[in-house]
């Protein structure tokens, strides 16, 4: 696909918009409207810069895309959204050109729409059951709900229309939130609304969790996360940065000595998994967490300014097939690698990454080696990575889930030279809090066990997000934060 400038999409959208008269549109006519593509930076240009890849819909594009929605009575899309946004409701407002009104509809259930609009795996959530997509025979033809959500949120922010959620009259109760990721931030807002004093404790020097240290600038601008966190501060939420609960202060001390009436734990899944193959501690092997943290949070890409160095790479192997792998590969490309290959044991169909990100990575020149997995990292005489020994796979019989299982091809081991290996096969839960809080029950993966109200085995202690779910998504973490807040507000009544 050749690259198109925003102006092209804009003109086409305007022309099509002028042709249609919404009042008279039949469902058939709505479905005939062109799906609005997302204007993006030219892949040849963006692979060398950190600016956001997706530029965002223009006003006309948004209004035209909104015309595609059939306003279904049963709204199957809503069921696909973990926080149950009134999707037809906000799309109707977009159609009418009332973007502020659209924003208000979204904000009833989602506090961070500019983030979700960008990073939700829509094709597996709201857009999957969309009637239009179903009728047109493909989820890629569904109403582009996420892009519309992003448009609305960006419109609000760019026009200074963001409103600070209202904090109720002081209740005299205090709530501690551990971790400033999406779960913690969402919980903080909802608890603060009820008038409780809220303190957020965060280990890092910036709020946002994975949204600031993991997901790269070119996919989710950090200024945007900072602006959302800023809203919380305006609401009166206190931030205690550089505070590691379990070390700086024990969880039990927060409750027993510091006078907090309830605690929410949203500490995420911050423990990198490795492959457990020989050579993984050689110089040049990184966890995706380390690589991305250096690049994002520590701004290593601003060479000359940033104190944190980034490894100079020419040939990079990324192991894994999720969002984390895509982000690592695309980051390595932007940091100057000549060749970046993603090694994945299965095929494109099974990749858990968002389809859009895989597409973007391919456009940027990332090479995918499917049905391949390393058995060993090979080092040189200085203890640095020289390459990988790779085993090839083929698809075998379908397993219980109906997916064809990859089976190794015997004797297919071959050497591929690399100087950098980024392991992006997922995260487990950080055990720090559970280790320092004896009565907190966790399962064998270290995930905190909670009931349907997100309550843990300890009184007045709630948990949610990746620390409960394992590595999941931003919106699921927010959903859990919200449910926990409701339960906390109930017990503190």
């Amino acid at each position: 696909m050749s690259h198109m400038e925003t102006s092209f999409y804009q003109q086409a959208a305007q022309a099509e918009l002028e042709k249609i008269h919404s009042a008279a549109l039949t469902p058939r006519a709505r479905m005939a409207i062109t799906v609005q593509d997302m204007p993006c930076q030219d892949p040849e240009v963006r692979r060398h810069n950190m600016q956001e890849v997706a530029i965002g819909y223009t006003r006309e594009q948004a209004m035209l895309e909104a015309e595609r929605c059939l306003q279904c009575k049963n709204a199957p899309c809503v069921a696909g959204c973990p926080v149950k946004i009134d999707i037809p409701g906000f799309i109707r407002k977009v159609k009418e050109g009332d973007f502020t009104g659209a924003g208000q509809v979204i904000k009833q259930t989602n506090l961070l729409p500019s983030i979700c609009g960008r990073v939700c795996p829509q094709e597996k959530q709201c857009q999957l059951p969309c009637t239009v997509g179903k009728a047109l025979g493909g989820v890629d033809k569904a109403v582009q709900i996420g892009r519309l959500e992003r448009f609305v949120a960006d419109y609000e922010r760019e026009h200074g229309l963001q409103t600070v959620p209202h904090a109720g009259p002081s209740s005299g109760k205090r709530v501690a939130i551990v971790g400033a990721g999406p779960a913690g931030l969402t919980c903080a807002v909802d608890v603060r609304r009820e008038g409780h004093d809220v303190a957020v404790f965060e280990a890092f020097h910036k709020a946002g969790g994975v949204m600031v240290y993991g997901i790269p600038e070119f996919r989710l601008p950090k200024a945007l996360v900072a602006s959302e966190a800023g809203l919380l501060e305006s609401m009166g939420v206190q931030f205690e940065m550089n505070f590691l609960v379990g070390r700086t202060r024990k969880l039990s001390s927060l409750l027993k000595e510091d006078g907090f009436d309830a605690v929410f734990i949203g500490t995420g899944a911050g423990l990198p998994k490795f492959m457990d193959i020989p050579g993984e501690n050689l110089v040049g092997v990184f966890s995706a967490n380390e690589y991305l943290t250096r690049a994002n949070l520590m701004k290593a890409y601003e060479i000359g300014k940033a104190g944190t160095p980034i490894y100079p790479s020419r040939r990079v192997a990324v192991l894994g097939g999720g969002n984390v792998a895509m982000d690592s590969a695309r980051m390595a490309m932007r940091l100057g690698a000549e060749e970046v290959r993603v090694l994945y044991r299965r095929t494109r169909e099974e990749m858990p990454a968002r389809a859009e990100e895989v597409g973007h990575a391919m456009e940027e020149g990332i090479i995918f080696d499917f049905l391949a997995s390393p058995t060993k990292v090979v080092g040189d005489d200085k203890g640095k990575v020289a390459g990988l020994e790779v085993l090839s796979y083929q698809l075998g019989e379908p397993d219980e889930s109906g997916r064809r299982k990859p089976v190794p091809i015997r004797g297919s081991e071959h050497f591929v030279p690399f100087d950098t290996v980024i392991v992006a096969i997922g995260n487990e839960s950080n055990p720090l809090i559970s280790r320092t809080t004896p009565d907190l029950h966790v399962d064998r993966h270290g995930h905190i066990i909670v009931d349907e109200k997100q309550k843990t085995s300890l009184d007045r202690v709630y948990a949610g997000g990746d620390i409960v779910l394992g590595a999941a998504t931003v919106i699921l973490a927010m959903g859990e934060g919200r449910r926990a807040a409701a339960a906390i507000n109930e017990v503190l009544q």
């Binding site: 020097h205 205690e240 202060r249 911050g270 966890s287 943290t293 104190g307 160095p309 203890g383």
Partner: protein, 288 residues
Amino acid sequence: MKTEHRIVSKRQLSEEVYRIEVLAPLVARERKAGQFVVVMYDEEYSERIPLTIADADPEKGTVTLIFQTVGASTHKLALKEPGDSIVLLGPLGNPTHIEKFGWAVCVGGGIGLAPLHPIVKALKEAGNRVTVISGARTAELLIMQDEMNAVADENIVVTDDGTAGRKALVTVPLAELCAASPPPDIVVAIGPPIMMKFCAETTRPFGIKTLASLNTIMIDGTGMCGGCRVSVGGATKFVCVDGPEFDAHQVDWGQMMSRLGAYKDIEKEAHEKCHLEMSIKQLEKERS
């Protein structure tokens, strides 16, 4: 509640070594011997620098850090003055396991004498007889001597060039002590990796339990990145959460040293730039 980490005092101990006292009441209250903090000289561009808590005053709410200006980040930290704020996270890592072992020999090389001091103190308080071996390249770099003399039962001084104490490496007196009967019950070594490695080789034939405090490269210091990992007894360990102290006989020293050198070329360049900046600042200071 918002805690600001302000530098309350600063002293230059030698040409390359600085001692700062930072206001950090919660850290000062919780910390134990062997633990460290991560500091940043600013919030935007600073590297995260792990430094051992050399001392703490829970009354005043301060922690003392002693660091050597080895590269760009430590130089920038050295440019901070009393009254300035820094970012500080801690206390991190596991405290040193302190008990009454009997006779403990504590070996400190160069800047390693700073993190060694709280351990010497704690071992002494637990009722051990403590012998310290203080080593440095030259007399000017020999720090913490008054403090060591005040707590240790005995302090053996060695320098590479003989400008203070014996002209020897720390492993020479260490081997002599190991040969005593009864031999030491435990050895703790903190210093450059190469020194810790040779301390381990010295005590190994005597079968004396030896602990080393590893100073790997770190980012978060909380177990999130895996950048600090080393191989200990064949298993991968994260120094920030599983350590920083490990059985020195089990550490893969070769691997640890090559991992420490991962960014050598980039760091060298940044260091030279900073050294220049610092010299300019000092010149300016002298002029005014």
